[in-house]
């Protein structure tokens, strides 16, 4: 009998559970969007509210949580829109706790007062995750479109810190706040919060591309990736192509999914192809169906399964997202401009770092490497 070995986060065993979840199609990660309503007007936001559709009611949400628990869901992200606009948010969150979910909450932090902070402390979620765009009100509020949102968020962070709640401060890096990254990184440390940075401004859920005007251009992205925040780029050795092509691609609808406020089930939060609606069918029936689209999505395992990408010499550095490919081209397996452009920048950065390792960063060798990468 070997029950006495209680290992603390032994990575191999956790990985085994994730692999098992993938193989057995257990949706252990659930991204549950409770509303698309929001009190902020962030310039880059991808959410589009469907004013004619009704959000799932409390009764429908708890019924869904029962089904998700039964099928093996454990990591639950409650997100929006702004979740605190739902008057029943805490009823839902505490129900999830009673069903033994490990819950994360994504919020803009502007609607949390002392009472809500106290309830969050009782809830004891894995983390509360905020979007913070700058160290100053001027830039942050400029992005959220609402004066005072920075001050309210800062107050909320203090309320949660006092209650020892794990906080993530996440930043979408755009043209307006590229120079804020270092300050935000320091601020997070100072506040005892985790920080996270992303540059993937995406089209809206309805396909409109207005948010892309705020996306970093090639040179700005290059500058961001070469910077120290969140960490210095470390050179990535590219294996021979025969090996590289076996690289695992993203795996939506295998160990997790996303569910919209209206009950639509998606393979992931970014891949917006509805595979069913929980108002029409039980979740398990949707998840376990052998529909053509679901089978097709699940059949993508490696870059070798992507005909337009499998010959690419840079696929080892590619951060492709099937959802963005679908949004841009209508085809989940297609290559897409946003992804390919980003990979070119990653390649440039990788080459430059390689050269620095050789001690040639400022010399002809470095310039030559950059010319090659650009070509």
């Amino acid at each position: 009998m070997e029950c006495s070995q209680v290992p603390i986060s032994p990575e191999k065993r956790v990985r085994k559970i994730y692999t098992k979840a993938e193989e057995r199609r257990i949706p252990i990660n659930i991204h549950l969007e409770l509303t698309y309503r929001c009190n902020l007007k962030c310039v880059h936001c991808y959410c589009v509210e469907h004013k004619r559709r009704e959000e799932l009611t409390y009764k429908e949400v708890v019924n869904l949580l029962d089904q998700l628990a039964d099928i093996g869901g454990i990591f639950l992200t409650l997100t929006g829109g702004e979740v605190f606009l739902r008057k029943d948010f805490f009823d839902i969150a505490f129900y999830a706790k009673r069903k033994n979910f490990a819950t994360r909450v994504f919020t803009n932090g502007t609607l949390i007062d002392e009472y809500a902070a106290e309830r969050l402390a009782e809830l004891r979620p894995l983390s509360i995750e905020f979007s913070l765009y700058a160290t100053t009100a001027e830039i942050h509020d400029g992005i959220t479109g609402v004066a005072g949102s920075f001050a309210k968020l800062r107050r909320t962070v203090d309320l949660l810190r006092e209650r020892n709640i794990t906080i993530f401060l996440k930043t979408m890096v755009m043209k307006q706040n590229l120079n804020e990254c270092e300050g935000l990184f320091k601020l997070s440390k100072q506040l005892g919060a985790h920080s996270g940075f992303s540059f993937d401004v995406t089209p809206r859920n309805d396909g409109s591309i207005e948010p892309l005007e705020y996306r970093l251009n090639d040179e700005e992205l290059f500058e961001f990736m070469l910077g120290d925040v969140p960490q210095k780029w470390e050179y990535v050795e590219i294996p021979p192509h025969a090996e590289a092509v076996k690289r695992e691609a993203c795996s939506p609808a295998r160990n997790g999914c996303a569910i919209s406020p209206y009950g639509d089930v998606y393979p992931c939060a970014q891949l917006l192809i509805p595979i069913g609606n929980v108002r029409e069918k039980p979740f398990a029936e949707i998840w376990n169906s052998d529909s053509e689209i679901l089978s097709d999505i699940r059949s993508i395992k490696t870059f070798g399964d992507l005909p337009e990408c499998s010959d690419c010499p840079d696929l080892w550095l590619c951060q492709r997202c099937h959802g963005l490919a679908h949004l841009e081209t209508g085809d989940i397996r297609s290559k897409y401009k946003l992804g390919c452009d980003t990979t070119k920048i990653v390649k440039r950065v990788n080459e430059l770092v390689k050269n620095r390792l050789k001690g040639g960063a400022d010399g002809e060798e470095g310039k030559e490497a950059l010319r090659e990468a650009n070509a």
Binding site: M1, E2, C3, A21, K97
Partner: protein, 91 residues
Amino acid sequence: MASLENRFVRNSDIAWRIIDGEALVVSPKDSLIYPLNGIATRIWELLDGKRSVSDISSIICDEFEGDTAVIQKDVVDFIQDLLKAGLINGM
């Protein structure tokens, strides 16, 4: 300390799910994940505050093969580990 007559209950702040016979236990306090094997999962299920450590040992002895004294010691040690990690509370 866990002893045979004590009763323990799973900490209500702890998230957990049994996936294909093995529990995944998540502690929000420190974001640690504890994957339990089959026997440990069964003990975890039995930690409902109603059964003593001795009751749990007896059930495990009935359900799994092994020397009774060794099983009893392992169950006590395991429960002690859970207690130390804050995953269960004494009644």
